[in-house]
């Protein structure tokens, strides 16, 4: 229901009596001034409330828009992933592979471990910035440290994709 405010002399007198009038602004709600007079202080308070309401609505709208935009960005698709490739060399590697896969799957920051796609290699998807290749190698060495004839190293080659080429952060 819309509220109406009316200037009135009755309220002016009331506010002057109660010493809450500074700038001479008085109003009352509805048609009757009785018990509804608003002096400077109440008007200011009401304006503050209205301002807060408007600000809150703006904040909610901003949050909604941001959420919509973020839903199209990689951040909303989960943390960014990085693929770490381990090269396994040695006669004991096939035996060590399953143990390694099991251990690495349980390692914090590791999303997926694939020992089947590329023979002699372990492909790991890890959370970018949380788990490094060095961390993974440490886990590997702790797991198969005693296994002879299986050397594990980070795969580096001419087709290793550089990280900051511009192609990794496409925009819409």
């Amino acid at each position: 229901m819309p509220r109406t405010h009316h200037s009135c002399r009755w309220c002016l007198g009331y506010c002057q009596q109660s010493k809450r009038l500074e700038k001479g602004a008085t109003r009352h709600r509805g048609l009757l001034p009785l018990f509804n007079c608003m002096c400077d202080e109440r008007i200011a308070r009401e304006q503050r409330i209205m301002l807060n309401v408007v600000l809150a609505m703006f904040a909610i709208l901003t949050a909604l828009c941001t959420a919509t935009l973020l839903s199209h960005s990689p951040a909303s698709a989960g943390p960014p992933k990085e693929r770490i490739v381990l090269m396994l060399t040695g006669s004991n590697c096939p035996d060590a592979l399953q143990t390694l896969e099991t251990t690495l799957r349980q390692t914090d920051g590791v999303f997926a471990v694939d020992g089947n796609s590329v023979p002699g290699h372990l492909l790991l998807d890890v959370e970018e910035g949380k788990t490094s290749a060095h961390d993974i190698l440490t886990v590997v060495h702790m797991t198969i440290g005693a296994a002879p004839s299986c050397q594990v190293e980070i795969m580096q080659s001419c087709i290793t994709a550089p990280k900051h080429t511009g192609a990794h952060a496409p925009a819409k």
């Binding site: 990689p74 796609s117 492909l123 087709i159 994709a161 080429t165 192609a167 496409p170």
Partner: protein
Amino acid sequence: MRASKRVFCVFAILTGLLAGGLALSSPTWAKTHDVAMTAEETDVVIEGNGEKYAAWTFNGTFPGPVVRVTEGDTINFTLTNPATNKHPHAMDFHAAEIDFLKNYKAINPGETISYSFVAKKPGIFFYHCGAPPMIQHVARGMFGAIIVDPKDAKAWAKADREYVLVQSEFFKNPNDVQAMFDRKFDGVMFNGGIFKYHPFVTGGGKLDAKPGERVRIYFINAGPNEFSAFHPIGEIWDNVYESGNPTNKLNGVQTYVVGPGSAATFDVVAESAGAYPLVTHSLTGALRGAIAVLLVGPDAKDAPLMPMVPWILPAK
């Protein structure tokens, strides 16, 4: 007796001429294909972390579907530009020899265009949207491949396995036409994906083959601007066929340049198990996305001509 022989000879000659004429005018092997495509302005996945790109496509995939016919076949083509689209679109088949003005004109949303052509020459050909600005329509994904197989299958060695690879440049901002004119690309893709067939990159797949198989790569460079220097790391192309025509045959090629809007067919036979990355040796392109690893092993499974199109990543 002599008269009847003469009549028989005339009849035989006439019949022969008639049969020959019929064979020439309407070859028995020729088929007619109805090919319909729809211009779709839609988001597609273009890299292994699931990032999407506001593409313009034929039939919703980047690249569009592979069309495959045989030399001499007729293609009845229809392009629909749905009313829900915002831009005009068109279709230009490099395999066709027809009037450009009449057939390749851009149509507005809500319109349809149809035309026919005979695929007279065998090969691998580019198709693409030609609506202005064409550079943007190509950059955003409106292209694909049409294979015209030779009518004589023995014109070249039989392939054991076939793939189609379409190279194109990637521009982060699909609306920045000036960047396209300025050749400021942000990546290079095979089949609409950055490192799509690179298993050492997140979300990357691979191309499979068995040792000793003749792998045939139908390769197109969609551009819109850059040249491709197509090279198999660890191998040598056994044969390269310019434009995919069996008569344009080269032997023992290390790297072959394919310009924008051009194509070639590449045969490689890897004798040993292992990884053989197929790259553009223009390294700014290779190291920004144009690497496809051919993984050769005894357990290689059958695969479609254009694997992972569309690129659907597993749920997170």
